[in-house]
């Protein structure tokens, strides 16, 4: 239980995916303009991350490992994730249209979100058990959500700020992201080991 809690806090704050591991930067910069879209995207990411962690872990343990095909991990994972996203999209559309409406547009974007493939690669690297891998996926999703929502608030303010010509658009956004990232360094000492 203690380990799971450490994984949870670790992935949300200490090694926040976006701000310290640089995973999922594209959606972080792409959809953080408004808090509402940030919320939608985050919801979809948490949802897919938890499911993909479970599926990729099973594929790795029962398909690749027994046949010593670990070198096919990258290909297998990305195809599993792509298929899963497609599957989730279809199922949601049929069964829970209201949720599909909320998350639908963001789902296709998630296949190429490096946070999803990244967390699958991380559980392999760290030899997580099934439960740990799923908890890690959930926590990584929450960390992504936290960063995205915090940042969208800042960007809404940036809209009205007076910015030098060359910095308009992306550059000032990156500088702002740097400042947010500094605050997360403060969590570094939170977990030992």
């Amino acid at each position: 239980m203690k380990e799971l809690f450490a994984i949870l806090i670790g992935a949300i704050l200490v090694e926040n995916f976006v701000l310290s591991k640089f995973l999922g930067i594209c959606p972080f910069l792409g959809v953080s303009k408004k808090t509402s879209t940030a919320l939608g995207m985050s919801g979809a990411v948490v949802f897919v991350l938890v499911m993909s962690q479970a599926v990729t872990w099973l594929a790795n343990e029962y398909l690749l490992k027994p046949n010593s095909l670990e070198y096919l991990q990258t290909i297998t994972f990305i195809l599993v994730i792509a298929a899963l996203v497609q599957f989730v999209e279809t199922v949601l559309k049929k069964l829970i249209p209201s949720l599909y409406k909320a998350l639908g547009v963001y789902l296709p974007l998630i296949t190429t979100n490096c946070a999803v493939l990244g967390s699958a690669l991380i559980f392999v690297e760290r030899d997580y058990t099934f439960i740990e891998a799923v908890v890690f996926g959930f926590a990584a999703g929450l960390g992504f959500t936290l960063a995205l929502i915090l940042f969208s608030g800042i960007r809404e303010r940036l809209e009205t700020a007076d910015i030098p010509e060359a910095f308009k658009g992306m550059p000032i956004t990156l500088v702002a992201a740097s400042l947010v990232s500094i605050t997360f360094i403060g969590f570094a000492g939170l977990i030992i080991g």
Partner: protein
Amino acid sequence: MAEKKKPFSVLMNGLIKENPTFRLLLGMCPSLAVTTMAKNGLGMGAAATFVLVGSNLVISLIRKIVPDKVRIPAYITVIATFTTIVQLLLAAFLPELNKQLGIYIPLIVVNCIIFARAEMFAQKNGPLLSVLDGLGMGAGFTLAITIIGSVREILGAGTWMGIPVTVDLFEPAIMFILPPGGFLAMGFLVALFNKLTDKKDKDPECETGCGMGCPGCSKAANGGEA
């Protein structure tokens, strides 16, 4: 429009005019994550270039036999294959670099630059032009992340490619090799690039190109308009 493309201009296109990192703002994750040292930037750039050239070549060769509906999974498989090749080569011959770059090597699969070039270029052009495009884009990417790596390494550790360069000039600011420094250096370099190439960043086209860079390309990746 894609009829008379000059090989040389295709090659040079990726370096400045459509520099994938500074201009198109694609592939941000590796650009920020591995650039704590110039050497890592160079290594990452070389690995990505290899994948880019290989996948561009294969995709342009198979573009006429792959049905449009399944082209996305087909492309992903091609790209993942080349990524795996790079991964195994690095593990065998450059284990140190492989360790430094870690999970960011397999993550080349989801690097938007490669997918974007497959969609935007390789599937519309012949093998030769596609290889040149891959080379040009790869060189542009390598150049950009080596620059970011150099800036961060010099400011953050006082060395360049491992050689001490600042000696007593100033105390290195460790922040630059930490994550915030990545965002900061990238922000200032993009601003500088905008200033030098004299492009107004506020025109609407670029606004979508920048902010929606990756989501835009992944939208195309999922069967929307290319």
